[in-house]
Amino acid sequence: MTNARVIRFLLGLAAPVLALVAAFAITSLVLVVAGDPAGDVWSTILSWPEERNLANIIKNATVLYLSGLAVAFGFRMNLFNIGVDGQYRVAAFTAAVVAGEAWLPGYLNTAFAIVCAMAVGAMWAGIAGVLRATRGVSEVISTIMLNAIATGLVAYLLRKVAVREAGSNDIGTKQIPEGSRIPNISIGEGPTSEIYGFIVIAALAGLLFWFVLNKTRFGFDLRATGQSTTAAVASGISVKKMTIVAMLISGGVAGLVGLPILFGSAYAYGSTFQSGLGFAGIAIALLGRNNPIGIAIGALLFAFLDEQSNPLQILVGVSPDIVAITQGVIVLTVVVSYELVRRYGIRLEQREVARVLADQPATPQKEVSA
């Protein structure tokens, strides 16, 4: 029995290791073909990050983690929410305006802004959910469209409410008052070695994700619907309701994505607010197999690669775009290697079963085949 467990554990480990090795090899090949110094590139990327880089990695991973969670929630129900990108931007903008106006004092203001962000994110995703449930519109299409609308809407509203610092060409919402900012957590010396305090909320979100999906009736219904709609209908689950609710929750989590940045470093939503986080989340959800721990590892890996590739151009003279290739290849190899390992596992099991059956006396086997 323990033997089987060890094998299962090793198989589980084999997939990501296989994927990383393959990604490593393919990227090296690209580097060699392009005539770049592969050795220098890897020694830069794989060097142990300094304290401030470590802080940056954790900071960016926190943001990517929330994005991955949002996408993964949809995936578990077989919904492909490409719209996390638009949802988080609309939500972060809303939170920035609400918190900037400071209608409530101190952390009440923060809490209210977070609730508003989640509500707006949920609403924005809910549009796609309702369209899917009532009109059968593919959420892939509608969420992409909603991303474009979000861009236009936020840009328009930003110009309406924007304040512009003297001499700056940047525009942004009002700064969040100091009492409503979420303090950063220090992991070393100085202000460059701080990570977002929001990481606590991100961790709670991950815990809640696991609990809701694995320990509640609702989570079971959701996963069941994701795996087979017909089976879900047969067991009395309303697929329409589940679709809308899943999109609402996915959007609500997406509403949190921009908030670590907003409350931890930017303190306003402006034209340089980070974009494209929703798309990174798709890759990370795939990488993490829609599992909260896996997503955390994926987010850390992506943040690590981003951070470590930043100095490549300056120190090695290679474009950091190479890391975009690595990230893409990792996603692909992870999916492929999981499939390979899964098939190998099944074959292993079949062989085991066959062996056990062969060992048994002939009579019951005849009964089986009869």
Binding site: F273, S275, G328
Partner: protein
């Protein structure tokens, strides 16, 4: 499983395409190699905005200034460019990496670096920084702000457009609707109105933040310009970086006129569309970068705000091709009035 396979494939293809677009730009512009080339121990780090060297826009203009300085003074240089949609920490780290590797000065190209330069300049008080298109850091002792009066140059080409237009409608195409590009629009409109009161100025922007593709999408530029020509405009001015190529194409097809931006685009555009470019609004980022580096080499590091306006020849209009020679006198008249302060050009449309 099959579904996630497909997703992964699509995603990877997308990422690879994006990466390919970025191209690799390992452009070590230095290495003169020659024995008698001038040599200086200044090491300059250039942090470009998205697009970097080769964007046919202001990054390129900054690169031109750097190249000139490298050749003239024999300084050492290294470049790095921003990724689309990168984190604020990535911009900060880029500047810190330069500073840690001994690059001094570090030049940040573009207003997006304002917050990062402010933060990193405080961490490295012994390193000099320069930032282009931002003056919010005017009081920081080790930061030089290089800013331009784009509205003044745009006023002149606006006047040129109005004087050259026969239809009474001219157009403006901005790359991305940001306060910076709105300055171009504001100046252009004011100039057109001054030269021909009551003239119709149509304006449009290709994309909205955070979508900065409007600076690098000739197809979008072409469509927008075609729309304007179809609506009766006969001169279109673009402030859209790399998208401008499409504007010129549309102008050539419509047998209309176009106005370039940043550099003298009569000289850099495709020869087939050269004739439609009657003038260009010059924003001499290269001059600013070169002058800044000249100061650094001389040991007299510039600080504070340096404004490149009409008076300082930091902005202006180009005359290559000779198509505005007939109205040069009027344009120079406006130029003098602006320099003298008789005309105050607005900065917001």
């Amino acid at each position: 499983m099959r579904r996630s396979m497909k997703l992964a494939a699509v995603l990877t293809a997308g990422i690879l395409t994006l990466a390919a677009c970025g191209g690799d730009s390992d452009s070590d512009a230095d290495d003169n190699g020659g024995g008698d080339a001038p040599k200086s121990d200044v090491k300059v780090g250039m942090a470009y905005d998205v697009g970097g060297r080769g964007d046919q826009s202001f990054n390129d203009s900054a690169a031109a200034g750097l190249d000139q300085a490298v050749e003239e003074f024999g300084i050492d240089s290294q470049e790095s460019e921003a990724e689309d949609g990168e984190a604020e920490t990535a911009r900060e780290e880029r500047l810190r990496t330069f500073a840690d590797a001994g690059y001094n000065p570090v030049i940040a190209v573009g207003f997006a670096y304002a917050a990062s330069v402010g933060k990193v300049a405080a961490e490295y008080p012994e390193v000099n920084f320069a930032i282009i298109d931002d003056e919010s850091l005017a009081d920081v002792p080790n930061v030089a702000s290089l800013v331009f009066s784009e509205e003044q140059g745009s006023f002149l080409v606006g006047a040129a457009a109005a004087l050259k237009s026969k239809s009474g409608t001219v157009g403006f195409i901005g790359g991305v609707e940001t306060p910076l590009i709105q300055k171009f629009e504001a100046g252009y409109k004011a100039g057109a109105e001054a030269a021909k009161p009551g003239i119709k100025v149509e304006s449009t922007y290709l994309t909205q933040i955070p979508d900065f593709s409007g600076f690098a999408d000739p197809a979008k530029g072409k469509t927008a310009a075609q729309g304007m020509f179809d609506n009766g405009a006969d001169v279109v001015y673009h402030a859209a970086g790399g998208s401008g190529g499409g504007v010129f194409e549309a102008a050539a097809e419509a047998k209309a006129m176009a106005i370039g931006v940043d550099s003298d685009q009569y000289n850099t555009a495709d020869p087939s569309v050269q004739d439609v470019i009657i003038t260009s609004m010059l924003k001499n980022v290269n001059v600013a970068v070169h002058e800044y580096l000249a100061g650094v080499v001389d040991g007299d590091v510039p600080a504070g705000v340096t404004r490149y306006d009409l008076e300082a020849d930091g902005v202006g209009y180009s005359t290559s091709g000779g198509q505005v020679d007939d109205i040069a006198e009027q344009l120079d008249g406006y130029k003098q009035q602006i320099i003298d302060g008789e005309i105050e050009v607005p900065t917001t449309p």
